[in-house]
């Protein structure tokens, strides 16, 4: 793909923030991103923003400046942030703008997502089937049966997330938990316990992008976007909130988005130095390691046992604590991953900095109703 650079990043702390609206958190992220690259809102030639429960993103201009810029709202489930980024990239590549901003924020009610059925005929939710948590329990249960992944491995993923989250001042959950505490917490959706699941939460992220050949005007440390791909499900893939699935098998949108992104970037999984993978729950991180091409199905058991996905491991995964430690404000979550990777590539990740000067970083989001977004960044 032709070159686009990320020159400024901003984030509002993830977590629970009583009295601060989702939109306020988006505005804070925008101001921090502008400050990061020394720009003004009036310098932005376009904006793309999204939120599921936080209101229409474009209405924030009444607070940050009525400059008349074109502002596109995007809503694309869990891939909302990733889609905002992809649209910003497309805008720059098309020549419609040289400098713009991608924004994601959200604020959800407490507890599992409330999913309403179509058009008032809600047999699905009425019957007790409209819970995303059930899908994740069923997908990893089948996967463990097929590929020999064990429950202690899921607990390892959880403990790693909270250990990394404790090193991240922007994270929601900053208390390390042992593998035993993760394994022995309340069973929510077998085989997944309370601390193996992320929670819907709050937060905001913004990033400023420009044509790569102009990046040095705004920062001395630009990060280049080598790929941004979004894919939806094909026939035969096993997806969240599906009353039925086909017997025919498709590997799903994550594999498709990953392949497309690697092709765009002209590199392979072996070239990636740090990865942020959708960890809606601990099993998702395990499955997504293979679906994104970083290992064969079943190898995760040994990789986790060897500590290969730790910050100082061969392939650090979810260095900021992932969704497990940060929670999942839908609109912001995908951009949170990119934010973390920019910090890692700049060498600004502090106590959780991946050693040995990482050069290539990978993000992956997955969500309902079967959508996945992948980005690849490099210095």
């Amino acid at each position: 793909m032709s070159d686009v650079a990320i020159v400024g990043i901003g984030m509002h702390e993830f977590g629970r923030h009583d009295g601060i609206s989702g939109m306020d958190q988006g505005v804070t992220a925008v101001r921090r991103a502008l400050a990061d690259c020394g720009q003004q809102w009036s310098d932005m030639e376009f904006a793309v923003g999204g939120s599921m429960d936080g209101g229409a993103a474009d209405t924030m201009v009444s607070r940050i400046g009525l400059t008349g810029l074109p502002f596109t709202n995007v809503v694309n489930g869990c891939a909302t942030g990733g889609t905002a980024l992809a649209q910003a990239v497309n805008t720059i590549q098309s020549g419609a703008g040289d400098l713009g901003i991608a924004i994601g924020f959200d604020k959800h009610e407490k507890g599992a997502f409330r999913i309403k059925g179509p058009r008032g005929k809600d047999w699905y939710g009425g019957s007790g089937l409209a819970l995303t948590t059930q899908f994740f329990g069923m997908k990893i249960n089948r996967y463990m049966h097929q590929y020999g992944i064990t429950q202690p491995t899921l607990a390892k993923v959880g403990a790693k997330a909270f250990r990394n989250g404790a090193l991240n001042p922007m994270a929601w959950r900053r208390k390390p938990l042992s593998e035993e505490e993760v394994a022995e917490s309340l069973m929510l959706s077998y085989p997944l316990t309370q601390y193996m699941f992320c929670s819907p939460g709050e937060g905001g992220v913004a990033m400023i992008l420009c044509r790569a050949d102009k990046a040095k005007q705004y920062t001395d440390r630009p990060i280049y976007l080598k790929a941004a791909a979004v894919r939806t499900r094909k026939f035969g893939s096993f997806e969240v909130l599906a009353p039925s699935i086909a017997i025919e098998h498709d590997p799903g949108p994550t594999s498709a988005a990953s392949k497309a992104a690697f092709e765009m970037a002209g590199i392979g999984p072996e070239d990636v130095d740090v990865a942020q993978l959708q960890d809606t729950e601990a099993g998702a991180e395990v499955m997504h390691m293979a679906e994104n091409g970083f290992c064969e199905h079943g190898e995760q058991e040994q990789m986790l046992a060897n500590g290969e996905t730790e910050i100082n491991g061969r392939l650090p995964v979810n260095t900021d604590g992932g969704c497990l430690a940060n929670g999942e404000p839908i609109g912001a979550s995908g951009l949170r991953q990119v934010y973390e990777n920019v910090l890692q590539l700049r060498g600004d990740a502090g106590e959780r900095q991946v050693p040995n000067d990482p050069k290539v970083a990978y993000t992956h989001v997955y969500g309902a109703p079967g959508i996945s977004g992948v980005t690849i960044l490099s210095r």
Binding site: A112, D122, N141, S189
Partner: protein, 146 residues
């Protein structure tokens, strides 16, 4: 006597006290769909016929819903009256895999590959005192529980 009513029309019929799932079959490629829909996501053909799906199959995967779902939309008992229930996909041979509640919620009693059959599951009473039911899958009784 309490009247039994289905949680919604068009999802299943009740026959001899058991549910029969209402599906669609693509007349071009034979793909089965549930619930009924127009348009085949497999071959993109737009002519389908209504069919009744198989009433038994094998358990493909499962979990246990251990906390009460939010109500609405959930119609079953919540709060102190909530009891955990199983959820799974049952593969109906040569048709498709259907998601549904399971009558068993004990992980020790659920095994991938076990034979399952359709039964009715009570949810709650409606405002007229009718018993609202949905469909569920129960382990097939092999008659060996003397």
């Amino acid at each position: 006597m309490t009247t039994i009513v289905a949680v919604a029309d068009g999802i299943f019929e009740i026959r001899d006290g058991k549910p029969v799932l209402l599906g669609t079959r693509c007349t071009n490629c034979g793909n089965h769909m549930f619930p009924r829909q127009t348009g085949c996501p497999r071959c993109l053909f737009n002519e389908q016929e209504d069919v009744e799906l198989a009433t038994a199959g094998t358990l493909w995967t499962w979990t246990v819903q251990a906390f009460p779902p939010k109500a609405p939309p959930y119609l079953g008992p919540v709060g102190d009256d909530f009891t955990p229930y199983g959820v799974g996909y049952v593969e109906l041979p040569d048709q498709l895999r259907v998601e549904g509640r399971l009558t068993v919620a004990d992980p020790e009693q659920l095994k991938i590959g076990m034979p399952m059959e359709l039964v009715l599951e009570p949810l709650s009473l409606d405002e007229d005192g009718n018993q609202i039911v949905t469909y569920a899958f129960a382990p097939v009784d092999n008659g060996d529980q003397s």
